[in-house]
Symmetry: C2
Subunit: 444 residues, 2 copies
């Protein structure tokens, strides 16, 4: 039933499909789920040293298998070209020796990180003498659904392994050959160093139905993480029976208060908008206190113009910017404030005060990353307390919402959820806990 | 569109339906959701002192309004009798002056607890000088769907308030009049002490469609907690777009190792099965090491017989128990090991060793609460590490999986999920966190 790429053969270390070939895609995926559940029990018991040797062996094997991975990737690229994919998509798909070396390096860096599993989060003794320990444990089986970049196969796979979780990967169909080659390398490398069978499995099907089947498989999967565009996340949310950790839009704001250091505000705004406009922690809307709008625009308009930023402004901002002859200006409409531009475009709105800035952010924002620039600590603390976003900033760029910038060492993504994981997700966010209770025969 | 009980009038403090009466149940519930979202912003900013005075005022008003609450409850009881509800159901539904006083007392106890909101979970400074704080915050808006006991209206409502959350309650239709009267008392009491409007709202509809509408309302609700039977939880899981915190079955095990202190094992087993058999942390299956089965049954059979426990035994246990002429015995079948008896019935199985006990628990259990009784610390630690349940015990009864027994002060339930909250849920589990970053103009 699987649409199997010719790079994929039954009985490979990827997954022993030889034993599994059943009649439906659903049965195949359930078999993968069952195997992952079994693997997760062994994985949960591996110590940090064992997991790190497996990681190193995986990194080594990726390098050894570079030629096979590049050959598989060339197939994907050629199919993508025949299918008329955009140059940008093909670029995301493309692997090179350098990119494979970077994947391997990043695996070695994950091996260097501390293992969160087994950490005692809290312990206490109750009056009846039972001793309670809250201990960090793996989640179990994690499903990850992602789009075109094949390096996610390695990144996501090794973060799950490091945290003692089994993982079921489902990458973009246009990268299937590359993903299979990478998974085989991870599996083969890992097996030499003691990786339990079926710890890292890839669903080798291009059928979209696979996503729905995974999302319904709460018996074998503890959580599902879709990494990709809005429609992918939406499809998973609509059908998932297990918890979904979502990475939705970032409609991020910078509010320039009337007591702001204006050159600082400008530097933060330019950085938040222009340093990398296509990412979720880039600024999409700037809110400016009406009282300092003229002063701010006097320095900001030339700076944004130099960066070739298109401004989409509310009435009063539009008038001011037009009078400054801003070269690339249009009027805001109903959709403006809810738009994630992901480009050199910026929504601009004047507000009367901090309260109105907060109200705008709470009404139109996506609760991702929002900043205030002000020299008034009372105003700043009011903003920090009132804005309900995963990361709220005072006098810093929104671009710091990132696992690396937080010092987490590794990042699986930036959660826009409030439960379990919020904001940058590091290794800890791939774990849960259990309670261990030791007694001497206590009863109720 | 609401099926409104005559105790409910438009424009009451419960919810200003006068302004809201729209054409469909969906629009009404969405209006409630929008209002809750607005309330949640104010609630998140209340300090512990303000929230505690509101709680005390609520408790006082419950007592003041006892006559109205009892009158509403009498309506529910009389309807339930006319509808032929079982005596047990009617019992769960019934309020008395004593039960109302207990509700009020339990609110006063919640006021005494420490407020988790605002707690700094972690803080650190990055090399670039930005200071990151991880701070505990309310979840926002919590939906709670529950069944017959009207006291849940007060319990759930005040735990959400204590943690700065707005709550949307949907109780059992047979308790609607009682729930409305209780909600009105909480609202009226709270408003005097500064409770924001729409902090505690009840959906005054008996239509089952209300559950589906709530579950789809991820725009206004951050989490949904169904408290009730399997089919209620299943209905919510199937339609929910937001995270669901589930309280599924407890198929709990006690494993009696061959190195157990047998009198201790018996005491734990009797307690875990008989002290309160209808709850989720009661034992449903006992696993006994084959080598000590005869010795154990010699003391256990008379003890279980005295408690009138029916035993459902695998082949070898059946033979031994039959030879002891156990009075209430039947043979296990395929369903036995997955059955939550919630009654004085116990599944009995002999196992060859600890590994097989663990395998049985992982295969058939519900990952709730499982115990080993042994004097061998190595065996015990192996069991504690390998069993993936919310609470794993060594030499203690499974009955301790409980917010009160853990010392949490209050309990919203016992989560069978792994994400966000696992095991007993106290106040902390009704919160999330956000990151606050303070800088001096840092950019990337």
């Amino acid at each position: 039933m699987f649409i199997v790429n010719r790079n994929f053969q039954a009985g490979t270390p990827l997954c022993t499909y030889g034993e599994l070939l059943m009649t439906t895609l659903e049965q195949d995926i359930h078999a993968i789920g069952r195997q992952a559940r079994v693997a997760s029990r062994t994985l949960a018991r591996l110590d940090a040293k064992q997991k790190n040797s497996i990681l190193i062996a995986m990194a080594d094997e990726l390098i050894v298998r570079s030629p096979a991975i590049l050959a598989a990737n060339a197939e994907d690229i050629s199919a993508a070209e025949n299918n008329g994919l955009t140059k940008a998509s093909i670029d995301r798909l493309r692997l090179t020796d350098l990119r494979i070396a970077e994947m391997a390096d990043s695996i070695r860096q994950v091996a260097e990180l501390a293992d969160p599993v087994g950490e005692i989060l809290r312990e206490w003794t109750r009056p009846n003498g039972i001793r309670i320990q809250k201990v960090r444990t793996p989640l179990g089986v994690i499903g990850i659904i992602y789009e075109s970049r094949p390096n996610v196969t390695a990144d996501a796979g090794v973060l799950c392994l490091k945290t003692g979780n089994a993982v079921i990967l489902r990458g973009g169909s246009e990268a299937l050959a590359s993903n299979i080659a990478i998974t085989k390398a991870l599996q083969a490398g890992g097996l030499h160093a003691g990786l339990p069978d079926h710890s890292i499995q890839l669903i080798p099907s291009k059928d979209r139905e696979a996503v729905r089947i995974m999302a319904a498989m709460d018996k074998y999967m503890d959580v599902i993480i879709p990494r990709g565009g809005h429609s992918l996340i939406e499809a998973v949310v609509a059908s998932a029976r297990m918890p979904v950790i979502k990475h939705y839009d970032g409609i991020c704001h910078v509010y320039v208060d009337h007591e702001a250091d204006l050159p600082m505000a400008l530097e933060i705004a330019i950085n938040a908008k222009c340093q990398r406009p296509g990412v979720c922690n880039a600024m999409e809307t700037i809110l400016i206190h009406r009282d300092i709008a003229d002063q701010f625009f006097a320095i900001a308009a030339p700076a944004f113009a130099k960066q070739e930023v298109e401004l989409v402004a509310d009435d009063s901002a539009f008038k001011k910017l037009a009078s400054l002859a801003y070269p690339n200006l249009r009027a805001a409409d109903d959709q403006t404030w809810r738009t994630e531009w992901l480009n050199l475009i910026l929504s601009v709105r004047l507000v009367d005060d901090t309260e109105n800035a907060i109200l705008h952010i709470e009404t139109h924002g996506s609760h991702h990353s929002d900043a205030i620039v002000t020299n008034n600590p009372h105003t700043a603390e009011e903003f920090l307390a009132s804005v309900d976003s995963s990361t709220v900033y005072w006098n810093a760029s929104t671009r710091f919402t990132d696992g690396g910038e937080f010092g987490f060492g590794a990042e699986i993504g930036i959660s826009t959820d409030k439960l379990h994981a919020r904001g940058p997700m590091g290794l800890e966010e791939l774990t849960t806990y259990k309670y261990l209770i030791r007694g001497e025969g206590q009863i109720r």
